[in-house]
Amino acid sequence: MAAHGPVRSPRLSGYTSNPRIRWAEWLPWIAALAFFFTLPEYLALGGRILIYILFALSLDLILGYAGIITLGHSAFFGLGAYTAGILSAKYGFTDPFFQLAAAAAMAALLGVATGALILRTKALTLLMLTLAITSILYEVANRASGLTGGNDGLSGVTVAPILGLFKFDLFGRTAFVYCLIALFLGWLFVRRLIYSPFGAMLTGIRENTARMYAVGAPVYWRLVLVYTISATMAGVAGALLTQVNQFVGLNVLGLEPSGDLLVMLILGGVGRLYGAFVGPVVYLIAQDYLAKQYPEYWYLGIGALLIVVVLFARGGILGLADQWLKALSRPKSSARASAR
Protein backbone atom coordinates (compact mmCIF):
# COMPACT_ATOMS: atom_id res chain seq x y z
CA MET A 1 0.00 0.00 0.00
CA ALA A 2 1.00 3.61 0.11
CA ALA A 3 2.87 3.44 3.38
CA HIS A 4 6.19 3.77 1.57
CA GLY A 5 7.31 6.59 -0.62
CA PRO A 6 6.12 10.17 -0.75
CA VAL A 7 2.48 10.70 0.01
CA ARG A 8 0.77 13.28 -2.10
CA SER A 9 -2.51 13.57 -0.29
CA PRO A 10 -4.49 11.31 1.99
CA ARG A 11 -7.55 11.57 -0.23
CA LEU A 12 -5.72 10.30 -3.25
CA SER A 13 -3.96 7.38 -1.68
CA GLY A 14 -6.82 6.27 0.58
CA TYR A 15 -4.61 4.75 3.22
CA THR A 16 -1.48 6.29 4.63
CA SER A 17 0.13 5.47 7.91
CA ASN A 18 0.83 9.04 8.93
CA PRO A 19 -0.96 11.71 6.98
CA ARG A 20 0.12 15.26 7.59
CA ILE A 21 -2.54 17.80 8.30
CA ARG A 22 -2.95 19.92 5.20
CA TRP A 23 -3.40 23.68 5.45
CA ALA A 24 -7.02 23.51 4.32
CA GLU A 25 -7.81 21.30 7.27
CA TRP A 26 -7.06 24.16 9.62
CA LEU A 27 -9.73 26.30 7.98
CA PRO A 28 -12.67 25.09 10.11
CA TRP A 29 -10.76 25.88 13.29
CA ILE A 30 -9.75 29.32 12.07
CA ALA A 31 -13.36 29.93 11.09
CA ALA A 32 -14.52 28.84 14.53
CA LEU A 33 -12.08 31.20 16.27
CA ALA A 34 -13.05 34.04 13.96
CA PHE A 35 -16.68 33.33 14.76
CA PHE A 36 -15.90 33.54 18.47
CA PHE A 37 -14.42 37.02 18.17
CA THR A 38 -16.69 38.55 15.54
CA LEU A 39 -20.17 37.28 16.35
CA PRO A 40 -20.44 37.07 20.15
CA GLU A 41 -24.25 37.30 20.09
CA TYR A 42 -24.53 33.96 18.26
CA LEU A 43 -22.24 31.97 20.51
CA ALA A 44 -25.09 29.88 21.95
CA LEU A 45 -26.01 28.68 18.48
CA GLY A 46 -22.32 28.24 17.71
CA GLY A 47 -21.85 25.97 20.72
CA ARG A 48 -24.82 23.87 19.67
CA ILE A 49 -23.37 23.54 16.18
CA LEU A 50 -20.05 22.36 17.59
CA ILE A 51 -21.80 19.71 19.66
CA TYR A 52 -23.75 18.46 16.67
CA ILE A 53 -20.56 18.34 14.62
CA LEU A 54 -19.05 16.03 17.21
CA PHE A 55 -22.23 13.95 17.17
CA ALA A 56 -22.25 13.84 13.36
CA LEU A 57 -18.58 12.88 13.38
CA SER A 58 -19.38 9.87 15.54
CA LEU A 59 -22.16 8.82 13.15
CA ASP A 60 -19.89 9.34 10.18
CA LEU A 61 -17.44 6.91 11.70
CA ILE A 62 -19.93 4.03 11.73
CA LEU A 63 -22.13 5.02 8.81
CA GLY A 64 -19.69 6.58 6.41
CA TYR A 65 -16.65 4.45 7.11
CA ALA A 66 -17.93 1.15 8.49
CA GLY A 67 -21.24 1.21 6.61
CA ILE A 68 -23.46 0.43 9.61
CA ILE A 69 -26.88 1.89 8.92
CA THR A 70 -28.57 3.05 12.09
CA LEU A 71 -31.68 4.96 13.05
CA GLY A 72 -30.81 4.75 16.72
CA HIS A 73 -27.66 6.74 17.22
CA SER A 74 -29.57 9.13 19.46
CA ALA A 75 -29.61 6.35 22.08
CA PHE A 76 -26.00 7.13 23.00
CA PHE A 77 -26.41 10.87 22.67
CA GLY A 78 -29.43 10.78 24.94
CA LEU A 79 -27.82 8.42 27.43
CA GLY A 80 -24.81 10.71 27.68
CA ALA A 81 -27.05 13.73 28.10
CA TYR A 82 -29.11 12.08 30.84
CA THR A 83 -26.06 10.65 32.61
CA ALA A 84 -24.50 14.08 32.94
CA GLY A 85 -27.83 15.65 33.87
CA ILE A 86 -28.80 13.09 36.50
CA LEU A 87 -25.34 13.10 38.08
CA SER A 88 -25.54 16.83 38.47
CA ALA A 89 -29.19 17.41 39.32
CA LYS A 90 -29.83 14.36 41.52
CA TYR A 91 -26.48 13.42 42.98
CA GLY A 92 -24.64 16.70 43.11
CA PHE A 93 -21.60 15.76 41.03
CA THR A 94 -20.93 19.06 39.33
CA ASP A 95 -17.41 18.64 37.99
CA PRO A 96 -17.71 18.90 34.19
CA PHE A 97 -14.90 16.44 33.43
CA PHE A 98 -16.29 13.86 35.78
CA GLN A 99 -19.68 14.21 34.08
CA LEU A 100 -18.11 13.81 30.66
CA ALA A 101 -16.18 10.75 31.74
CA ALA A 102 -19.25 9.15 33.31
CA ALA A 103 -21.34 9.88 30.22
CA ALA A 104 -18.65 8.44 27.97
CA ALA A 105 -18.42 5.33 30.12
CA MET A 106 -22.18 4.76 30.14
CA ALA A 107 -22.46 5.29 26.39
CA ALA A 108 -19.51 2.97 25.80
CA LEU A 109 -21.13 0.29 27.96
CA LEU A 110 -24.40 0.56 26.07
CA GLY A 111 -22.47 0.63 22.82
CA VAL A 112 -20.54 -2.54 23.50
CA ALA A 113 -23.58 -4.34 24.91
CA THR A 114 -25.99 -3.48 22.10
CA GLY A 115 -23.31 -3.59 19.45
CA ALA A 116 -22.33 -7.12 20.39
CA LEU A 117 -25.97 -8.14 20.16
CA ILE A 118 -27.12 -6.46 16.99
CA LEU A 119 -24.11 -6.21 14.70
CA ARG A 120 -24.51 -9.75 13.44
CA THR A 121 -27.65 -8.64 11.65
CA LYS A 122 -27.93 -6.25 8.76
CA ALA A 123 -30.22 -4.21 6.54
CA LEU A 124 -33.79 -3.91 7.75
CA THR A 125 -33.27 -6.01 10.87
CA LEU A 126 -30.35 -3.88 11.98
CA LEU A 127 -32.27 -0.70 11.24
CA MET A 128 -35.20 -1.96 13.26
CA LEU A 129 -33.04 -3.06 16.19
CA THR A 130 -31.28 0.29 16.47
CA LEU A 131 -34.61 2.06 16.28
CA ALA A 132 -36.08 -0.24 18.94
CA ILE A 133 -33.16 0.41 21.30
CA THR A 134 -33.44 4.17 21.17
CA SER A 135 -37.23 3.89 21.46
CA ILE A 136 -36.85 1.80 24.58
CA LEU A 137 -34.56 4.39 26.12
CA TYR A 138 -37.11 7.04 25.19
CA GLU A 139 -39.85 5.11 26.98
CA VAL A 140 -37.66 4.60 30.02
CA ALA A 141 -36.75 8.28 30.19
CA ASN A 142 -40.39 9.18 29.74
CA ARG A 143 -41.66 6.87 32.50
CA ALA A 144 -38.90 7.18 35.08
CA SER A 145 -39.87 10.75 35.79
CA GLY A 146 -38.50 10.61 39.32
CA LEU A 147 -35.02 10.40 37.87
CA THR A 148 -35.30 12.07 34.49
CA GLY A 149 -38.11 14.56 34.94
CA GLY A 150 -40.10 12.66 32.30
CA ASN A 151 -41.97 14.77 29.82
CA ASP A 152 -41.06 18.05 31.54
CA GLY A 153 -37.38 17.46 31.10
CA LEU A 154 -34.65 17.51 33.70
CA SER A 155 -33.86 20.95 35.00
CA GLY A 156 -31.64 22.10 37.83
CA VAL A 157 -28.46 20.89 36.19
CA THR A 158 -25.51 22.76 37.63
CA VAL A 159 -21.98 22.58 36.31
CA ALA A 160 -18.99 23.74 38.31
CA PRO A 161 -16.44 26.05 36.68
CA ILE A 162 -14.02 24.18 34.41
CA LEU A 163 -10.81 23.42 36.33
CA GLY A 164 -12.25 25.70 39.00
CA LEU A 165 -11.37 28.68 36.83
CA PHE A 166 -13.78 29.18 33.93
CA LYS A 167 -17.41 29.60 34.83
CA PHE A 168 -20.15 28.90 32.29
CA ASP A 169 -21.38 32.39 31.50
CA LEU A 170 -24.68 33.66 30.17
CA PHE A 171 -23.31 34.50 26.75
CA GLY A 172 -21.95 31.01 26.14
CA ARG A 173 -18.34 32.15 25.80
CA THR A 174 -16.87 29.48 28.06
CA ALA A 175 -19.24 26.91 26.63
CA PHE A 176 -18.16 27.68 23.09
CA VAL A 177 -14.46 27.34 23.79
CA TYR A 178 -15.07 24.24 25.91
CA CYS A 179 -17.02 22.56 23.09
CA LEU A 180 -14.47 23.67 20.54
CA ILE A 181 -11.68 22.00 22.49
CA ALA A 182 -13.73 18.82 22.89
CA LEU A 183 -14.50 18.79 19.19
CA PHE A 184 -10.88 19.40 18.29
CA LEU A 185 -9.77 16.43 20.35
CA GLY A 186 -12.52 14.30 18.86
CA TRP A 187 -11.50 15.36 15.37
CA LEU A 188 -7.83 14.55 15.97
CA PHE A 189 -8.82 11.14 17.26
CA VAL A 190 -11.20 10.30 14.41
CA ARG A 191 -8.72 11.57 11.85
CA ARG A 192 -5.98 9.39 13.27
CA LEU A 193 -8.38 6.46 13.37
CA ILE A 194 -9.62 6.59 9.79
CA TYR A 195 -6.14 6.92 8.32
CA SER A 196 -4.89 3.98 10.36
CA PRO A 197 -4.94 0.34 9.24
CA PHE A 198 -8.03 -0.01 11.40
CA GLY A 199 -9.75 2.67 9.33
CA ALA A 200 -8.72 0.98 6.11
CA MET A 201 -10.18 -2.25 7.44
CA LEU A 202 -13.49 -0.53 8.16
CA THR A 203 -13.65 0.82 4.63
CA GLY A 204 -12.94 -2.68 3.40
CA ILE A 205 -15.81 -4.09 5.45
CA ARG A 206 -18.13 -1.45 4.04
CA GLU A 207 -17.11 -2.10 0.47
CA ASN A 208 -16.90 -5.87 0.47
CA THR A 209 -17.63 -7.76 3.66
CA ALA A 210 -17.16 -11.20 2.15
CA ARG A 211 -13.69 -10.38 0.95
CA MET A 212 -12.70 -9.02 4.34
CA TYR A 213 -13.72 -12.34 5.85
CA ALA A 214 -11.67 -14.04 3.15
CA VAL A 215 -8.49 -12.14 4.02
CA GLY A 216 -8.98 -13.13 7.62
CA ALA A 217 -10.20 -9.89 9.14
CA PRO A 218 -12.19 -10.25 12.36
CA VAL A 219 -15.12 -8.39 10.82
CA TYR A 220 -17.57 -8.73 13.66
CA TRP A 221 -15.20 -7.58 16.40
CA ARG A 222 -14.01 -4.67 14.32
CA LEU A 223 -17.60 -3.56 13.90
CA VAL A 224 -18.32 -3.90 17.61
CA LEU A 225 -15.20 -1.92 18.40
CA VAL A 226 -15.96 0.95 16.05
CA TYR A 227 -19.58 0.95 17.20
CA THR A 228 -18.42 1.33 20.79
CA ILE A 229 -16.01 4.12 19.91
CA SER A 230 -18.72 5.93 18.04
CA ALA A 231 -21.18 5.42 20.91
CA THR A 232 -18.66 6.90 23.34
CA MET A 233 -18.22 9.99 21.22
CA ALA A 234 -21.97 10.41 20.88
CA GLY A 235 -22.27 10.10 24.65
CA VAL A 236 -19.71 12.83 25.16
CA ALA A 237 -21.58 15.04 22.70
CA GLY A 238 -24.79 14.43 24.65
CA ALA A 239 -23.12 15.32 27.93
CA LEU A 240 -21.76 18.52 26.40
CA LEU A 241 -25.26 19.46 25.32
CA THR A 242 -26.52 18.98 28.87
CA GLN A 243 -23.73 21.06 30.34
CA VAL A 244 -24.22 23.89 27.87
CA ASN A 245 -28.02 23.98 28.14
CA GLN A 246 -28.10 23.04 31.82
CA PHE A 247 -31.23 21.12 30.91
CA VAL A 248 -32.11 17.74 29.40
CA GLY A 249 -35.30 17.22 27.42
CA LEU A 250 -36.86 14.06 26.02
CA ASN A 251 -36.02 15.27 22.51
CA VAL A 252 -32.49 13.86 22.80
CA LEU A 253 -33.84 10.33 22.42
CA GLY A 254 -35.94 8.48 19.88
CA LEU A 255 -36.28 8.50 16.15
CA GLU A 256 -36.37 12.24 15.60
CA PRO A 257 -32.87 13.28 16.71
CA SER A 258 -31.42 10.27 14.88
CA GLY A 259 -33.22 11.31 11.73
CA ASP A 260 -32.14 14.93 12.06
CA LEU A 261 -28.55 13.86 12.54
CA LEU A 262 -28.70 11.58 9.52
CA VAL A 263 -30.02 14.45 7.44
CA MET A 264 -27.22 16.73 8.62
CA LEU A 265 -24.56 14.20 7.77
CA ILE A 266 -26.03 13.43 4.37
CA LEU A 267 -26.26 17.10 3.51
CA GLY A 268 -22.63 17.60 4.37
CA GLY A 269 -21.45 14.44 2.69
CA VAL A 270 -21.30 11.00 4.25
CA GLY A 271 -18.10 8.98 4.37
CA ARG A 272 -15.82 11.99 4.41
CA LEU A 273 -14.37 13.55 7.51
CA TYR A 274 -15.48 17.11 6.78
CA GLY A 275 -18.99 16.20 5.74
CA ALA A 276 -19.71 16.02 9.44
CA PHE A 277 -18.49 19.62 9.74
CA VAL A 278 -20.37 21.18 6.85
CA GLY A 279 -23.72 19.45 7.38
CA PRO A 280 -24.57 20.59 10.93
CA VAL A 281 -23.39 24.14 10.19
CA VAL A 282 -25.69 24.49 7.19
CA TYR A 283 -28.58 22.62 8.76
CA LEU A 284 -28.60 24.34 12.14
CA ILE A 285 -28.10 27.84 10.78
CA ALA A 286 -30.86 27.31 8.23
CA GLN A 287 -33.06 25.91 10.97
CA ASP A 288 -32.35 28.86 13.20
CA TYR A 289 -33.44 31.29 10.51
CA LEU A 290 -36.26 29.43 8.81
CA ALA A 291 -37.84 26.97 11.20
CA LYS A 292 -39.08 29.55 13.64
CA GLN A 293 -40.89 31.60 11.02
CA TYR A 294 -42.08 28.90 8.64
CA PRO A 295 -42.13 25.49 10.26
CA GLU A 296 -44.12 23.89 7.42
CA TYR A 297 -41.81 25.17 4.72
CA TRP A 298 -38.82 24.07 6.74
CA TYR A 299 -39.86 20.42 6.61
CA LEU A 300 -40.89 20.72 2.99
CA GLY A 301 -37.51 22.19 2.11
CA ILE A 302 -35.53 19.66 4.12
CA GLY A 303 -37.46 16.77 2.66
CA ALA A 304 -37.10 18.01 -0.90
CA LEU A 305 -33.42 18.70 -0.34
CA LEU A 306 -32.91 15.20 0.99
CA ILE A 307 -34.57 13.64 -2.06
CA VAL A 308 -32.50 15.78 -4.39
CA VAL A 309 -29.28 14.92 -2.59
CA VAL A 310 -30.02 11.20 -2.71
CA LEU A 311 -30.98 11.26 -6.36
CA PHE A 312 -28.47 13.66 -7.81
CA ALA A 313 -25.69 14.49 -5.39
CA ARG A 314 -24.64 11.39 -3.51
CA GLY A 315 -21.69 13.04 -1.83
CA GLY A 316 -23.65 15.93 -0.30
CA ILE A 317 -22.39 19.48 -0.34
CA LEU A 318 -18.76 18.47 -0.13
CA GLY A 319 -19.23 15.90 -2.87
CA LEU A 320 -20.55 18.63 -5.15
CA ALA A 321 -17.68 20.90 -4.23
CA ASP A 322 -15.30 18.08 -5.03
CA GLN A 323 -16.81 17.59 -8.46
CA TRP A 324 -16.59 21.27 -9.27
CA LEU A 325 -13.01 21.46 -8.14
CA LYS A 326 -12.20 18.44 -10.23
CA ALA A 327 -13.93 19.95 -13.25
CA LEU A 328 -11.94 23.15 -12.78
CA SER A 329 -8.61 21.44 -12.47
CA ARG A 330 -9.15 18.78 -15.12
CA PRO A 331 -7.30 20.57 -17.93
CA LYS A 332 -4.17 20.62 -15.83
CA SER A 333 -4.08 17.24 -14.20
CA SER A 334 -6.34 14.93 -16.17
CA ALA A 335 -3.68 12.24 -16.13
CA ARG A 336 -3.81 11.78 -12.39
CA ALA A 337 -6.92 9.76 -11.72
CA SER A 338 -8.64 10.11 -8.40
CA ALA A 339 -8.66 7.14 -6.08
CA ARG A 340 -12.31 7.58 -5.16
Partner: protein, 272 residues
Protein backbone atom coordinates in the same frame (compact mmCIF):
# COMPACT_ATOMS: atom_id res chain seq x y z
CA UNK B 1 -56.08 -5.60 11.99
CA UNK B 2 -55.64 -2.12 10.58
CA UNK B 3 -52.01 -2.46 11.31
CA UNK B 4 -52.12 -5.60 9.26
CA UNK B 5 -53.83 -4.13 6.21
CA UNK B 6 -51.40 -1.24 6.18
CA UNK B 7 -48.35 -3.31 6.78
CA UNK B 8 -49.28 -6.09 4.41
CA UNK B 9 -49.01 -3.40 1.77
CA UNK B 10 -45.60 -2.61 3.15
CA UNK B 11 -44.71 -6.26 3.09
CA UNK B 12 -45.61 -6.28 -0.57
CA UNK B 13 -43.37 -3.35 -1.47
CA UNK B 14 -40.62 -3.97 1.01
CA UNK B 15 -40.64 -7.74 1.18
CA UNK B 16 -41.50 -8.71 -2.32
CA UNK B 17 -39.62 -5.90 -3.99
CA UNK B 18 -36.76 -5.50 -1.55
CA UNK B 19 -37.07 -1.75 -1.23
CA UNK B 20 -36.74 -0.22 2.22
CA UNK B 21 -39.74 2.03 2.10
CA UNK B 22 -40.04 4.09 5.25
CA UNK B 23 -42.52 6.39 3.54
CA UNK B 24 -45.21 3.75 3.62
CA UNK B 25 -47.15 5.60 6.29
CA UNK B 26 -47.44 8.46 3.85
CA UNK B 27 -49.65 6.37 1.61
CA UNK B 28 -51.75 5.31 4.57
CA UNK B 29 -52.12 8.94 5.61
CA UNK B 30 -53.06 9.94 2.08
CA UNK B 31 -55.72 7.24 2.06
CA UNK B 32 -57.20 8.56 5.29
CA UNK B 33 -57.23 12.15 4.08
CA UNK B 34 -58.77 11.24 0.75
CA UNK B 35 -61.52 9.29 2.47
CA UNK B 36 -62.25 12.16 4.79
CA UNK B 37 -62.24 14.77 2.03
CA UNK B 38 -64.31 12.80 -0.41
CA UNK B 39 -66.91 11.98 2.20
CA UNK B 40 -67.16 15.45 3.69
CA UNK B 41 -66.97 17.59 0.56
CA UNK B 42 -68.68 15.45 -2.03
CA UNK B 43 -70.98 13.48 0.21
CA UNK B 44 -69.82 10.16 -1.22
CA UNK B 45 -70.92 7.10 0.76
CA UNK B 46 -68.34 5.24 2.82
CA UNK B 47 -67.78 2.15 0.60
CA UNK B 48 -67.33 4.25 -2.53
CA UNK B 49 -64.95 6.54 -0.66
CA UNK B 50 -62.90 3.49 0.31
CA UNK B 51 -62.58 2.50 -3.32
CA UNK B 52 -61.64 6.05 -4.25
CA UNK B 53 -58.98 6.11 -1.52
CA UNK B 54 -57.52 2.83 -2.72
CA UNK B 55 -57.53 3.78 -6.39
CA UNK B 56 -56.18 7.30 -6.04
CA UNK B 57 -53.38 6.27 -3.71
CA UNK B 58 -52.46 3.47 -6.09
CA UNK B 59 -52.40 5.85 -9.05
CA UNK B 60 -50.40 8.47 -7.20
CA UNK B 61 -47.92 5.81 -6.17
CA UNK B 62 -47.43 4.78 -9.80
CA UNK B 63 -46.40 8.34 -10.57
CA UNK B 64 -43.99 8.35 -7.65
CA UNK B 65 -42.63 4.97 -8.58
CA UNK B 66 -41.92 5.97 -12.16
CA UNK B 67 -40.45 9.34 -11.28
CA UNK B 68 -38.46 8.57 -8.17
CA UNK B 69 -38.51 5.10 -6.67
CA UNK B 70 -37.46 3.25 -9.81
CA UNK B 71 -34.21 5.18 -9.88
CA UNK B 72 -33.26 3.71 -6.54
CA UNK B 73 -34.00 0.00 -6.97
CA UNK B 74 -30.35 -0.71 -7.54
CA UNK B 75 -29.08 1.85 -5.03
CA UNK B 76 -27.89 0.94 -1.55
CA UNK B 77 -30.09 0.66 1.49
CA UNK B 78 -28.83 3.94 2.83
CA UNK B 79 -30.05 5.86 -0.21
CA UNK B 80 -33.43 4.20 0.04
CA UNK B 81 -33.76 4.99 3.72
CA UNK B 82 -32.78 8.61 3.21
CA UNK B 83 -34.93 9.08 0.18
CA UNK B 84 -38.03 7.77 1.90
CA UNK B 85 -37.34 9.88 4.99
CA UNK B 86 -37.19 12.88 2.66
CA UNK B 87 -40.50 11.82 1.22
CA UNK B 88 -41.99 11.68 4.71
CA UNK B 89 -40.81 15.20 5.47
CA UNK B 90 -42.28 16.57 2.26
CA UNK B 91 -45.62 14.84 2.65
CA UNK B 92 -45.91 15.79 6.30
CA UNK B 93 -45.30 19.42 5.41
CA UNK B 94 -47.85 19.32 2.61
CA UNK B 95 -50.45 17.59 4.76
CA UNK B 96 -49.99 20.22 7.41
CA UNK B 97 -50.33 23.07 4.96
CA UNK B 98 -53.45 21.66 3.32
CA UNK B 99 -55.27 20.16 6.28
CA UNK B 100 -53.91 22.03 9.28
CA UNK B 101 -52.87 20.38 12.51
CA UNK B 102 -56.20 18.82 13.48
CA UNK B 103 -57.02 15.19 12.82
CA UNK B 104 -59.15 14.53 9.75
CA UNK B 105 -62.79 14.12 10.77
CA UNK B 106 -64.43 10.85 9.79
CA UNK B 107 -68.15 10.24 10.05
CA UNK B 108 -69.00 6.59 9.87
CA UNK B 109 -72.21 5.56 8.17
CA UNK B 110 -75.01 4.62 10.54
CA UNK B 111 -74.92 0.92 9.72
CA UNK B 112 -71.37 0.68 11.05
CA UNK B 113 -72.00 2.50 14.29
CA UNK B 114 -74.19 0.19 16.30
CA UNK B 115 -73.50 -3.08 18.01
CA UNK B 116 -73.62 -6.56 16.65
CA UNK B 117 -75.22 -9.29 18.67
CA UNK B 118 -73.21 -12.48 18.47
CA UNK B 119 -73.23 -15.52 20.72
CA UNK B 120 -74.77 -13.60 23.56
CA UNK B 121 -72.33 -10.71 23.45
CA UNK B 122 -72.25 -7.26 21.88
CA UNK B 123 -69.50 -6.23 19.54
CA UNK B 124 -69.07 -2.80 17.94
CA UNK B 125 -70.11 -3.15 14.31
CA UNK B 126 -67.23 -1.09 12.99
CA UNK B 127 -64.63 -3.40 14.47
CA UNK B 128 -66.40 -6.50 13.29
CA UNK B 129 -66.57 -4.98 9.85
CA UNK B 130 -62.83 -4.25 9.99
CA UNK B 131 -61.98 -7.77 10.97
CA UNK B 132 -64.15 -9.37 8.33
CA UNK B 133 -62.95 -6.99 5.66
CA UNK B 134 -59.29 -7.53 6.53
CA UNK B 135 -59.78 -11.26 6.48
CA UNK B 136 -61.21 -10.97 2.98
CA UNK B 137 -58.21 -8.95 1.83
CA UNK B 138 -55.83 -11.45 3.35
CA UNK B 139 -57.55 -14.34 1.67
CA UNK B 140 -57.56 -12.70 -1.74
CA UNK B 141 -53.95 -11.60 -1.42
CA UNK B 142 -52.84 -15.02 -0.41
CA UNK B 143 -54.71 -16.45 -3.36
CA UNK B 144 -53.21 -13.83 -5.66
CA UNK B 145 -49.62 -14.41 -4.67
CA UNK B 146 -49.64 -18.15 -4.19
CA UNK B 147 -52.09 -19.36 -6.76
CA UNK B 148 -52.19 -17.04 -9.77
CA UNK B 149 -49.96 -16.38 -12.70
CA UNK B 150 -49.36 -12.84 -11.51
CA UNK B 151 -48.17 -14.07 -8.14
CA UNK B 152 -45.83 -16.55 -9.71
CA UNK B 153 -44.40 -13.85 -11.93
CA UNK B 154 -43.83 -11.50 -9.02
CA UNK B 155 -42.11 -14.19 -7.00
CA UNK B 156 -39.94 -15.12 -9.95
CA UNK B 157 -38.98 -11.52 -10.63
CA UNK B 158 -38.06 -10.94 -7.01
CA UNK B 159 -35.95 -14.06 -6.75
CA UNK B 160 -33.98 -13.37 -9.89
CA UNK B 161 -34.86 -10.29 -11.83
CA UNK B 162 -32.48 -10.87 -14.70
CA UNK B 163 -33.71 -14.41 -15.24
CA UNK B 164 -37.34 -13.33 -15.09
CA UNK B 165 -36.67 -10.68 -17.69
CA UNK B 166 -34.95 -13.09 -19.99
CA UNK B 167 -37.88 -15.50 -19.98
CA UNK B 168 -40.05 -12.65 -21.16
CA UNK B 169 -41.59 -11.17 -18.04
CA UNK B 170 -41.88 -7.41 -18.20
CA UNK B 171 -40.49 -6.74 -14.74
CA UNK B 172 -40.78 -2.99 -15.09
CA UNK B 173 -44.53 -3.09 -15.47
CA UNK B 174 -44.80 -5.89 -12.98
CA UNK B 175 -42.94 -4.00 -10.28
CA UNK B 176 -44.95 -0.90 -11.01
CA UNK B 177 -48.21 -2.78 -10.59
CA UNK B 178 -46.96 -4.49 -7.44
CA UNK B 179 -45.87 -1.21 -5.96
CA UNK B 180 -49.23 0.34 -6.79
CA UNK B 181 -50.97 -2.59 -5.13
CA UNK B 182 -48.88 -2.28 -1.99
CA UNK B 183 -49.40 1.45 -1.73
CA UNK B 184 -53.07 1.14 -2.55
CA UNK B 185 -53.45 -1.34 0.29
CA UNK B 186 -51.75 1.13 2.59
CA UNK B 187 -54.18 3.81 1.46
CA UNK B 188 -57.06 1.45 2.04
CA UNK B 189 -55.75 0.57 5.48
CA UNK B 190 -55.32 4.20 6.41
CA UNK B 191 -58.83 4.98 5.21
CA UNK B 192 -60.41 1.98 6.92
CA UNK B 193 -58.71 2.60 10.20
CA UNK B 194 -59.17 6.35 10.24
CA UNK B 195 -61.60 6.05 13.10
CA UNK B 196 -59.24 4.03 15.30
CA UNK B 197 -55.89 5.49 14.27
CA UNK B 198 -56.78 9.15 13.73
CA UNK B 199 -55.25 10.61 10.60
CA UNK B 200 -53.29 13.77 11.17
CA UNK B 201 -50.19 15.35 9.75
CA UNK B 202 -47.74 13.52 11.96
CA UNK B 203 -49.23 10.12 11.04
CA UNK B 204 -46.31 8.80 8.96
CA UNK B 205 -43.92 9.51 11.82
CA UNK B 206 -46.01 8.27 14.71
CA UNK B 207 -46.77 4.90 13.26
CA UNK B 208 -43.56 4.36 11.35
CA UNK B 209 -42.09 2.27 14.13
CA UNK B 210 -45.16 0.03 14.29
CA UNK B 211 -45.24 -0.64 10.57
CA UNK B 212 -41.56 -1.42 10.56
CA UNK B 213 -41.85 -3.70 13.55
CA UNK B 214 -44.66 -5.64 11.94
CA UNK B 215 -42.70 -6.15 8.76
CA UNK B 216 -39.37 -6.86 10.42
CA UNK B 217 -40.82 -9.25 12.97
CA UNK B 218 -43.05 -10.92 10.42
CA UNK B 219 -40.25 -11.39 7.99
CA UNK B 220 -39.75 -10.01 4.52
CA UNK B 221 -41.30 -11.63 1.53
CA UNK B 222 -44.09 -13.50 3.22
CA UNK B 223 -47.74 -12.67 3.65
CA UNK B 224 -48.33 -14.89 6.63
CA UNK B 225 -45.49 -13.28 8.61
CA UNK B 226 -46.80 -9.73 8.83
CA UNK B 227 -50.27 -11.08 9.58
CA UNK B 228 -49.13 -13.01 12.62
CA UNK B 229 -46.75 -10.22 13.66
CA UNK B 230 -49.53 -7.64 13.43
CA UNK B 231 -51.77 -9.81 15.59
CA UNK B 232 -48.96 -10.39 18.09
CA UNK B 233 -47.97 -6.76 18.30
CA UNK B 234 -51.56 -5.59 18.45
CA UNK B 235 -52.47 -8.00 21.24
CA UNK B 236 -49.23 -7.41 23.14
CA UNK B 237 -49.58 -3.66 22.91
CA UNK B 238 -53.19 -3.64 24.06
CA UNK B 239 -52.53 -6.12 26.84
CA UNK B 240 -49.55 -4.10 27.96
CA UNK B 241 -51.45 -0.85 28.11
CA UNK B 242 -54.24 -2.59 29.99
CA UNK B 243 -52.26 -4.48 32.61
CA UNK B 244 -49.01 -2.59 33.05
CA UNK B 245 -49.64 0.91 31.73
CA UNK B 246 -46.49 2.20 33.40
CA UNK B 247 -44.39 0.29 30.86
CA UNK B 248 -46.07 1.89 27.86
CA UNK B 249 -44.65 0.79 24.55
CA UNK B 250 -41.58 -0.57 26.28
CA UNK B 251 -42.56 -4.23 26.08
CA UNK B 252 -43.39 -4.07 22.39
CA UNK B 253 -39.91 -2.83 21.59
CA UNK B 254 -38.31 -5.32 23.94
CA UNK B 255 -40.26 -8.15 22.33
CA UNK B 256 -39.17 -6.91 18.93
CA UNK B 257 -35.53 -7.00 19.93
CA UNK B 258 -35.81 -10.49 21.39
CA UNK B 259 -37.61 -11.87 18.35
CA UNK B 260 -35.20 -10.27 15.92
CA UNK B 261 -32.19 -11.56 17.79
CA UNK B 262 -33.70 -15.01 17.90
CA UNK B 263 -34.80 -15.00 14.26
CA UNK B 264 -32.90 -12.25 12.42
CA UNK B 265 -34.92 -12.76 9.26
CA UNK B 266 -38.20 -12.42 11.13
CA UNK B 267 -40.61 -15.15 12.13
CA UNK B 268 -41.44 -16.21 8.60
CA UNK B 269 -38.69 -14.58 6.59
CA UNK B 270 -37.62 -16.53 3.58
CA UNK B 271 -35.09 -14.33 1.89
CA UNK B 272 -31.54 -14.21 3.13
Amino acid sequence: MILYVISVGLSVTMGLMGFINLAHGVFAMAGGYILSTVMARLGVPFPVALVVAFASVAIASILLERLLYSRLYAAGELSQVLFTIGLIFVSVAIARMVYGTLAAPITLPDYLRGQVHFVGRDFPTYRVFLIVFSALIIASLWFGVERTRWGAMVRAAVDNRGMAQSVGINTRVLFMATFALGSGLAGLGGALGADILPVDWAYPFEHLAYFLIVVAVGGLGSLRGPFIAALLIGVADTACKYWVPEFGAFLVYAATIVILLWRPMGLFGVRA
